[in-house]
């Protein structure tokens, strides 16, 4: 599918679940259940998106050209069942980086405002 947005700056702000998906896929291709599991683990169970919510987010990311469906393959060597894997695109990586930067700036601003304690040196 043709990406609708090519510049990461021009991309609209990501929803939390979309950012979580990009973060997960930044570590490599994942199938749907693996994405859900990883998001839940990373957030220590605080964020557990429903299947429908995640796939609707995936649909938006695919249409935006941030994620692409990869080939179907088995999850484990001993498993016959093939799963659809999803991978982050170069644009998706740039958008995720831009979003992470934005969040980092927000965190820095919050520290300056003493909303967060300073850490490190």
């Amino acid at each position: 599918m043709t990406p609708s947005v090519v510049s990461p700056e021009a991309h609209p702000p990501l929803r939390p679940v979309e950012f979580e998906i990009l973060l997960t896929l930044a570590n490599g291709e994942r199938h749907g259940y693996a994405i859900l599991q990883e998001i839940a683990e990373r957030s220590r169970g605080e964020l557990q998106p429903e299947t429908g919510t995640m796939y609707r987010a995936l649909r938006r990311l695919v249409e935006g050209g941030l994620v692409r469906p990869a080939a179907r393959k088995t999850a484990r060597e001993d498993d016959d069942e093939r799963r659809r894997y999803y991978a982050i695109t170069a644009l998706g990586a740039r958008v995720a980086t831009a979003e992470a930067d934005r969040m980092a700036r927000l965190v820095a601003t919050a520290r300056l405002a003493r909303l967060l304690p300073h850490t490190g040196s």
Partner: protein
């Protein structure tokens, strides 16, 4: 254990798959499979964690799927979905271009079926349902008096009473058709004009093409007589002379002022050559029995025909009771008897024109057109299924590569949609051509005899009908195509390498199609054969005598001047004598039928002949005659014809036909024998029967076949009595002209005018003209039906062959296996013919009740006897059996002729 676990998972997986239908198709195409896999992973995890986790998952998954599914449905469509459809359209177009023969054949079959359906619907819509083309045409109604099953005009007195009390109608007008002689005696022309309220033109809000319409003053007593001409009369009688307005013409020998010409196509309330205003005071001064009129009206806003009928019925019944109270003696009794069976009918003009059988005709003809369309659909379904079989491996590969079934269904659907739309466009053109052709034909052959609203063409309703028929066809074909795509087991296809997967289901579909085809064709062919028989009989109608140059009309002697029988006798004799000597006239015969073979009116007794059972009295056609019987080609066999001795008060005599002699006087001399007619009365059937007297047979004539033409009860067994001894109120005047039909007409008008100027000129018809028109309509209708049914038959033959050939072709390998296991060719042929025979049997059984219904319908409206219907049914049945068995035998022969080795390897 594993098995049970798997089954649970499978069930839950299926349930989840169902839930996923909450999502829109384009979303499902891309993510449904992935979501299902994710759900299965979650399910396995939850089951490992325990029942609570499982329940929680099921609950949240259900809520999540439904909620997100509908959110996704309500979300704006992704840009890509339109692109998918466009890609599918282009793909379908490419496929159709690649198979030009398939595309052409399918479009031809569809355009034929759809064209017939659109044409039939539009034709009948214009004829029966469409509002008439006048202002507020949907609210204009015809109000008729119905006595028993017959429609008749209202008495002026009753109309006045109803008009005064009616609140459901905004305007009520009256009219009657009347014959006028236009021009002088040297160049006369008989015209059929409408005498109507002066306000009639204003009622229809019409404008004249030339001059003006009627004004109130035109209808005042003593005003100068005026006339408005129809476009046709202006064209044919006055050569479209633009200076006709304000000229004076002779109408019934009265100088009449032409004040206007109406535009082409105007013919309210009935087809008419001219309009003459009805004097304003006629209605108010009429006494009961003096004047009768037809009535039209406009429904008040918000009032429907049923409500108007309810109100008018009350007013009518009240008026009729007043009529009865004001009358006395026999007249009061007659009115009372009529009141029991009389009612008011309020209908649109088209419905009134076609009568109470109109809706039935509409339904039957539309069903027939629908059946032909169904046949076309069956054929196209067969072609599409054959095509999908050819592409089954391609479809399976695409499914295996991850294409969703809905996407494949849509792609197949686009193919059907393109074919149907192309077929629909051609069908609409065919229907438009057919409607124009009908219009041109009726204008050329029936102008002046047709309702003015019968103008056919491709109007809005025809286009809407075309759209609906095409949509319905797409839906029908879509169900079949999508059913095929969704049922395909791609694993089986790819493993097997053939189209056998799902073949049992498809076999059922093919068998169902064959059964439907057999049933449909049986009904259509049966209808076609019966219609052909009726058309042949009507086209070759035998009225029982030589009709060349014979003119006929009925004249009534109404009112007080003819109260005494001797005055009527004198009048009838004078009419006969004076008309006989007119230069344009050859033979003249006055006739009044008083008895028929079909009911008690025809009963008689023979003197000196014992009647064993009173309930079975002999019957004959009984007529009173005066004048020259050679008018009807009747000749004298023995004795004498009626003459001056047989006047009123003369000795009671009777003449019998040769057929009568053969039946009742076989071997004895008929002359001098005596016969008594049981009900010797010339009055209406409501009169008490008058006991006859013994009449002496004075002559025997040649046979004259009497009775309703085409009726099975026609017979030449007849008795004739002298008309002066009966003195009826009305009689049929039959006469032959010497070659100039118009002069013949004028001769009768002049005779009647000379004898009694108050007698209204009757409608004189020429048998030649009536029979020619009847024959023309019958032959043309038969040709139209023949084209329709030939198309249906072609569809049936080709379709049945196609279905059987494909079905048997798919079983080639099975046939090979049977042969390899020792079955002989004869056994295989018997087996397949037997299976074809079963489908045939089921189809025929299904069609039997429908055929019985068609047969009953025909016997009700047309002269089709049970034997003819049965013979036709047998002929149709035999033809269908032959077609189906032949359609089975040919591909079976082909299948068994294949080398065994090739058959076993055939895909």
């Amino acid at each position: 254990m594993t098995g049970s676990v798997d089954r649970t998972e499978q069930r839950l997986r299926s349930a989840y798959r169902m839930l996923l239908r909450s999502y829109p198709a384009h979303f499902r195409d891309l993510y449904a499979l992935d979501m299902e896999e994710t759900f299965v992973d979650q399910l396995r995890q939850a089951r490992r964690e325990g029942i609570l986790a499982l329940l929680l998952l099921l609950l949240t998954s259900t809520a999540d799927t439904v909620t997100n599914g509908w959110h996704e449905r309500l979300a704006p469509q992704p840009k890509g979905s339109a692109m998918f459809h466009w890609m599918d359209v282009r793909y379908a177009m490419r496929l159709l271009r690649r198979s030009p023969m398939f595309s052409l054949l399918t479009v031809m079959v569809l355009s034929g079926g759809l064209g017939l359906a659109i044409f039939t619907f539009s034709f009948l819509h214009t004829a029966i349902l469409k509002p008439i083309p006048v202002s507020d045409g949907d609210r204009v109604v015809s109000i008729r008096q119905e006595v028993g099953t017959n429609s008749s005009p209202f008495d002026a007195v009753d109309i006045v009473a109803m008009r005064t009390g009616a609140r459901t109608l905004t305007d009520v007008g009256v009219y009657t058709s009347r014959i006028f002689v236009l021009g002088d005696d040297t160049h006369p022309r008989v015209i059929d004009a409408t005498v109507a309220d002066w306000s009639m033109f204003a009622f229809t809000r019409a404008r004249p093409a030339l001059g003006r319409m009627f004004k109130h003053e035109d209808a005042e007593r003593g005003a100068e007589p005026v006339i408005v001409l129809s476009q046709r009369l202006w064209r044919t009688a006055f050569g479209s002379d633009s200076g006709i307005v304000d000229r004076t013409i002779l109408l019934n020998n009265v100088r009449t002022h032409v004040i206007g010409v109406m535009p082409t196509g105007y013919g309210f309330p009935v087809a008419s050559e001219a309009w003459v205003p009805l004097a304003n005071d006629v209605m108010s001064t009429s006494r009961f029995g003096e004047n009768e009129f037809q009535v039209y009206g406009r429904l008040a806003p918000g009032v429907n025909a049923e409500r108007a009928h309810a109100e008018l019925r009350v007013l009518y019944k009240r008026a009729r009771e007043t009529d009865r109270a004001n009358a006395s003696g026999d007249v009061a009794r007659k009115i009372g008897e009529q009141n029991i069976i009389s009612d008011v009918a309020v209908e649109t003009f088209p419905m009134a024109q076609v009568g109470e059988d109109g809706p039935l005709i509409l339904t039957v003809l539309n069903i027939l057109a629908g059946l032909i369309l169904a046949l076309a659909c069956i054929n196209v379904t067969n072609l599409l299924l054959a095509r999908s079989n050819e592409r089954v491996r391609e479809t399976a590969v695409r499914l295996a590569l991850g294409a969703s079934r809905s996407r494949l269904v849509m792609q197949s659907m686009w193919e059907s949609i393109i074919l149907c739309v192309a077929g629909g466009a051609i069908a609409t053109a065919i229907a438009a051509w057919g409607l124009d052709a009908i219009n041109a034909w009726t204008k050329a052959n029936l102008e002046g005899n047709m309702a003015f609203w019968w103008v056919w063409g491709l109007d809005q309703s025809a286009v809407i009908a075309a759209g609906l028929f095409v949509t319905a066809t797409i839906a029908v074909l879509g169900v079949v195509v999508s059913g095929r795509a969704t049922s395909l087991q791609f694993v089986a296809v790819l493993k097997d390498g053939s189209a056998r997967s799902g073949s049992r289901r498809e076999g059922r579909v093919v068998r169902t199609l064959v059964v439907t085809q057999v049933a449909t064709v049986s009904v259509l062919m049966f209808f076609g054969v019966l219609a052909g028989i009726v058309a042949y009989r009507v086209a070759n109608i035998d009225v029982g005598f030589d009709t060349r140059r014979v003119m006929t009309t009925v004249v009534g002697l109404e009112g007080d001047p003819y109260a005494k029988p001797e005055l009527r006798a004198t009048m009838w004799t004078n009419v006969q004598r004076m008309l006989s000597v007119a230069p344009a006239v050859n033979h003249v015969l006055l006739r009044r039928t008083i008895g028929a073979l079909t009911d008690e009116s025809g009963e008689f007794e023979l003197k000196d002949q014992a009647v064993s059972d009173k309930t079975t009295k002999p019957r004959a056609y009984i007529q009173a005659l005066e004048g020259d019987v050679s008018t009807l080609g009747v000749t004298l066999h023995s004795g004498r014809l009626f003459d001056s001795r047989d006047a009123q008060g003369g000795a009671p005599v009777v003449i019998v036909s040769q057929a009568f002699v053969d039946k009742y006087f076989a071997g004895v001399a008929p002359l001098g024998r005596q016969i008594k007619i049981a009900r010797e009365s010339a009055e209406s059937s409501t009169d008490a029967p008058v006991a006859g007297q013994w009449r002496t047979v004075v002559g025997v004539t040649s046979n004259l076949v009497l009775g309703v033409p085409l009726s099975p009860t026609r017979s030449a067994i007849a008795l004739f009595i002298p008309l002066p001894q009966l003195n009826p109120r009305d009689a049929e005047i039959l006469y032959t002209h010497r070659g100039d039909e118009a002069a013949g007409q004028v001769a009768l008008y002049n005779t009647l005018r000379t004898l009694d100027p108050k007698i209204l000129p009757p409608d004189i018809r020429s048998y030649d003209d009536v029979l020619q028109k009847t024959s023309l309509i019958a032959i043309s209708t038969a040709k139209l039906f023949a084209v329709c049914f030939a198309f249906a038959l072609l569809l049936a033959v080709s379709g049945t062959y196609g279905l059987m050939a494909r079905n048997i072709g798919q079983r080639t390998r099975e046939i090979g296996v049977r042969r390899a296991l020792g079955a002989t060719d004869a056994t295989v042929i018997r087996l397949l013919l037997g299976q074809g025979g079963r489908q045939l049997g089921i189809g025929v059984v299904i069609s039997l009740p429908l055929m019985a219904l068609v047969g009953l319908g025909f016997s009700k409206f047309f002269p089709i006897g049970a034997l003819t219907a049965l013979a036709s049914a047998l002929m149709v049945g035999t033809s269908i059996v032959a077609v189906v068995l032949l359609a089975t035998w040919i591909p079976t022969r082909r299948a068994v002729a294949i080398e065994l080795r090739d058959a076993l390897w055939k895909e």
